[in-house]
Symmetry: C2
Subunit: 357 residues, 2 copies
């Protein structure tokens, strides 16, 4: 069976194509009796105006673009995976699809924006990382393209700069601060920090929360010896933990689960026979859960849903009237979400095992 | 600066819009001198025909759809992540984009296909898992929509059925067979298999390779005791490994890295002081690499690139002439790729650690 078109439907109903188009897009222009007859025929025929035709008319593709960043070590990559799922679902629920693209660099990303706007007519972009003095956000703002960033607008020194664009981020410092307080409550006082933070605003932010909690607890003078910088990998975590252990650290707050995994392995090797070591990771990945490590959990699904709310609200309010029901209250355009520590009791795996069939 | 359009360009050059359209789509219809003048102007103006306009003309959206499956435990999920990256890159290199969508079930996936075809005009689909008696492939074939499946067309008993559609898969049995041979060469003879295989064609395939290699080595009669079924999780691996160890297994081939991680933890707990246990995982995830576990590596990037080749070839050959250079030889429409075992020497982490800064 051939798919019904505007033309075939007009022939069948003996009305003009414009009349059918009016029923779909400006029903108040059509007499009620005619409108009802045409609506019934549209439903019976299963006619749907194609996106291409609608796009030419409304200049809307109902599509957001997102650059798929190169795969990371795959341990903390699980977080981006959850973000992508939540984003696709939230976009779809709002009538939008998500188109992925690759880019070699930020400037290549801008070239891709240009092509996706000019050729595919995308409606907006999701940016999944922010960099100091971000050329991409400047380009998009100059062009007037709707976008939302997952990540704060950092300045070169790792501080927050004022920016007029929409962003959502997770308050990393609040997470590590909470992790330190948990370890203090467990009786630890020499609590180390392990992460990559020089020139890395996200790592510096996570270190800041550790510093704040150590200072508040009166351990500020131990801080220089207990802060170790390491490459964000499992071996980086192992060697960093060895250094921290040699300086008397009994617990470690890490800026990623990759680091935490390496640190836990190393502490177990250095102190055989102890229960799971007091190591807290960041991102609450499946690996941390599997190994019984405590970790700071980021509400990435909430961040993703908020970004879609911001984008769809912006598009609904631009005067083209493509979306008919803009929400009453605008969503916050700049939002810092609080993470929380998932505390895991260091039990041997045997206790949690399921029975084999 | 306003974006040049077909109309503005026609005005500027004092030619008809049809002439410009001919230069772009049917250059042989235009006199060489006129063609060169218009081509130069198109380049100078940076004019690009919009996708919406081109889509109405060619009925091509230059876009493939893929359902994003619900996130798995995130350990083996890293493989799907690599697949998604490779797919996006290969599609982009061929001029196509990848649009993601979510679905609650196979029948919901079909409803999404219908909408994506009717409304967004997608050109084809990537299916990332195959199920016995797959309703989705039947629907797509009846509709004549190009698609390629990552996964063999299984029958209900876990065997391979004949299917006329395009698919790519990894020969899991060849991978586990190779893993057993590696363990035999290391001196093991009581080699267990740990996986989920009843009603799971992928697990059954991986078990088949283990069986084949054990039979070939003359250990066929040990096979019933050494095959243990477990839930594909870390705790499932731990409890399955405990059972296999109680039956005298000295090495274990697992059908996933989640299982291998649990099995390795358990064996280390049961035999303190031993080097890394002889456990082989499947998927060669970052977790296996981080923990020094051997694992079967799947060439998912190659699979992704091949699927894009198959789809773009099919679209190039459908007579609409949208792609002008179909490759000389058609790509294989049904392809089984060989995995390989990544052997890791069980060294303590300390030896591989990098120096902290």
């Amino acid at each position: 069976m051939a798919r019904p078109t505007l033309a075939s439907l007009a022939r069948e109903l003996a009305v003009s194509r414009q009349t059918i188009s009016n029923v779909l897009n400006a029903p108040h222009k059509v007499k009620p009796a005619t409108r009802e007859r045409i609506q019934a025929a549209i439903e019976a025929a299963g006619y749907r105006p194609s996106a291409a035709a609608r796009q030419l008319r409304t200049q809307r593709s109902m599509n957001f673009g997102m650059r798929l960043l190169p795969a990371t070590d795959g341990i903390n990559g699980a977080v981006l995976d959850r973000f992508l799922h939540a984003l696709t679902e939230a976009a779809q629920a709002a009538g939008y699809r998500l188109t992925l693209f690759c880019a070699d660099s930020d400037s290549d990303e801008i070239r891709q924006y240009e092509e996706l706007l000019d050729v595919a007519g995308l409606d907006g972009f999701i940016l999944t990382s922010s960099t100091p003095d971000d050329v991409r956000t400047r380009w998009l703002q100059e062009r007037g393209t709707p976008f939302a960033v997952f990540g704060r607008p950092w300045d070169a020194a790792g501080g927050l700069t004022a920016a007029s664009h929409s962003w959502v981020d997770i308050d990393g410092a609040a997470g590590t601060e909470q992790a330190v307080r948990m370890l203090l409550a467990q009786g630890h006082s020499r609590i180390g920090f392990l992460g990559s933070y020089t020139g890395n605003p996200v790592g510096a932010d996570r270190r800041r929360g550790w510093l704040r909690a150590m200072d508040a607890a009166g351990y500020g003078r131990d801080v220089p010896a207990l802060s170790v910088e390491a490459e964000e990998t499992v071996p980086g975590g192992a060697s960093g933990a060895a250094l921290l252990a040699s300086r008397g650290a009994t617990a470690i707050v890490c800026s990623s689960d990759s680091l935490a995994l390496g640190a836990a392995e190393k502490l177990r090797e250095l102190r055989p026979g102890t229960a799971r070591p007091a190591v807290v990771g960041f991102d609450n990945t499946p690996v941390a859960a599997a190994l019984g490590l405590s970790s700071v959990a980021q509400p990435v699904e909430e961040a993703a849903r908020h970004m879609i709310r911001v984008l769809t609200h912006e598009l609904a309010g631009d005067g083209t009237g493509a979306a008919s029901n803009p929400p009453a209250a605008p969503p916050e355009r700049q939002l810092l979400l609080a993470p929380h520590v998932v505390e895991r009791v260091p039990l041997p795996l045997a206790a949690t095992g399921s029975s084999p069939a």
